[in-house]
């Protein structure tokens, strides 16, 4: 599917290069041991510059969501309605993405989700989430 085009720079570009290799990365401060997202050059908690860009499991739970019945960008007009989620990842950071494969009436805060990385033909890789189906 088409996506709004972006122009990442510097550490932003490193994040999208990792995504292109199927790695969702987050910032981890080796000084205070706190995770952060989006990955920064300086820790937003302790202001150390000893930051590692670690690879995430992509697993988490929905912190909140909204289903939009109008597109926020012309590139997404054929997608409505679509659901945007804030996800609390198990590594201790929170990120925005969209939720695929769940009808609007079935979305709920607290549902377990897992990341899925898409590589569109044009443009940058994109993280989506899907509700995790338990094997037990």
């Amino acid at each position: 599917m088409s996506r709004p085009q972006i122009m990442p720079r510097g550490e932003e570009r490193l994040y999208f290069e990792a995504l292109a290799e199927n790695k969702l990365t987050f910032g981890f401060c080796t000084s205070c041991s706190k995770a952060h997202f989006y990955p920064r050059t300086v820790c937003p908690s302790c202001h150390s510059d000893q930051i590692e860009y670690r690879v995430s499991s992509g697993k988490g739970t929905i912190y909140t969501f909204t289903t939009q019945y109008r597109a926020g960008n012309p590139a997404l007009e054929d997608q409505v309605p679509y659901t945007i989620v804030m996800v609390d990842l198990t590594e201790g950071y929170r990120m925005m993405a969209d939720l695929l494969g769940t009808a609007p009436e079935d979305v709920a805060i607290g549902l377990p989700v897992v990341a899925e990385i898409e590589h569109p033909e044009n443009g940058h890789s994109v993280v989506h989430f899907r509700v995790e189906v338990s094997n037990g």
């Binding site: 709004p4 990442p8 909204t66 939009q68 109008r70 960008n73 805060i109």
Partner: protein, 379 residues
């Protein structure tokens, strides 16, 4: 009158629903002219210029050029909709430092004429942009769903605020929609970003506004009864919604505490409140964080017409962003309505005997906050 007292001595708003043949800066220029005239001053008396814009990247240059001004000092602090309340606090500090004496704070927008939707030169985060969040509505959908989950807030409660705002607007001859609204009408308006409906959202209007701020000493010789700036405060904690630390609480608690402490008054002393209502949910959360009710009780607080005319609090008596005017950045118009209430010139919606008003602006998605306490008795 204290040595460091500063007052608002002029105010004007122009074309607050729809303009014609006026650009954003041209509309703002007219508001500036009328505000200095309201004060009994001339534009050539202005020695400090404050503005923010959704159109102009260097708005003080644009505005000063258009008006033929050469101010001693300028401030184009841009924190979204609350910018002008922040400018007011900065103007007080600059006047008290002797950097200037007559400050013009001004804003103009033609977003209704342009496109009927929010105009913005603001950039998006690369970590959000791919997802097509409607700015700013989608973010408030995220905020509202979380508030509902944590506190049991309902869509009916949110709708009650929209209904109260419209009741106030019916007392304002300048308000654009002179018909009552019902909870059912709000709930049956199209869902745009769940759980928010079209009528949970502010109007999209044109409009310009300006205020003139000066020292107490200078104010004493001017034609209007001064509206004193008794306290100001500001605080912020994010730029992008995905970075908001807690989606149900804001730094309004900090900015208002600073303003109240400076003014030496408390929330129980407030006669009229002018609080940023871009969305029903933004108003509700701000009422909690400003201290009008406890955290999580905003839903119950807006029920039973408590915020309607004749209720517990004169809140946004001009009809607010939901039912009066919202030209992109609302806080200028919150200040102007507080000035009208404190001058006693608000007509049918006048809070009789109003002495103290709280103005609270928020910017972006509950990201930036600025509070001012205004009064009509000299400090």
């Amino acid at each position: 009158m204290a040595d460091k007292s500063v007052a608002i001595v002029g105010a004007a708003q122009v074309d607050i629903f729809k303009t014609k043949d006026r650009s954003p800066v041209g509309l703002a220029a007219l508001a500036a002219k009328r505000a200095v005239e309201d004060a009994g001053l001339k534009l050539s008396d202005v020695d400090a210029l404050f503005t923010s814009s959704s159109y102009y990247a260097m708005p003080t240059l644009t505005m000063a050029e258009y008006l033929g001004l050469s101010p001693n000092i300028v401030d184009s602090t841009s924190t979204g909709g609350c910018s002008f309340v922040q400018h007011l606090g900065h103007a007080v500090a600059m006047i008290n430092q002797g950097l200037c004496e007559v400050a013009l704070i001004v804003y103009g927008s033609t977003q209704k004429t342009d496109a009927g939707k929010l105009v913005s030169i603001a950039e998006h985060s690369v970590y959000e942009q791919q997802y097509g969040l409607i700015h700013p509505l989608g973010a408030f959908g995220l905020i509202a769903n979380r508030h509902m989950k944590e506190f049991g807030t309902t869509s009916e409660q949110l709708a009650q605020y929209a209904v109260s705002a419209r009741e106030w607007a019916l007392l304002n001859p300048e308000a654009p929609y002179p018909t009552a609204l019902t909870v059912d009408e709000v709930l049956s308006s199209p869902m745009v970003a769940s759980p928010l409906h079209k009528l949970d959202c502010c109007l999209v209007t044109d409009g310009a506004g300006a205020i003139i701020v000066t020292s107490g000493k200078r104010a004493a010789s001017l034609k209007q009864k001064p509206v004193w700036v008794l306290g100001t405060g500001e605080a912020q904690n994010h730029r992008n919604i995905s970075q908001m630390p807690d989606f149900t609480s804001t730094k309004a608690s900090v900015s208002s505490k600073r303003a109240f402490e400076q003014a030496g008054v408390g929330i129980a002393d407030i006669d009229t409140a002018h609080v940023y209502d871009a969305f029903t949910i933004s108003l509700l959360i701000l009422m909690e964080d400003l201290g009008f009710c406890k955290k999580g009780e905003g839903g119950a607080f807006v029920e039973n017409g408590r915020l309607a005319p004749g209720g517990q609090l004169s809140l946004n008596p001009n009809g607010g962003g939901l039912s009066f005017s919202h030209p992109g950045m609302l806080s200028m118009f919150l200040i102007i309505e507080a000035v009208a209430q404190l001058r006693g010139t608000a007509g049918a919606r006048q809070h009789q005997g109003a002495k103290l008003s709280l103005v609270h602006g928020m910017g972006m998605t509950l990201a930036s906050h600025a509070t001012a306490i205004l009064g009509n008795e000299a400090p």
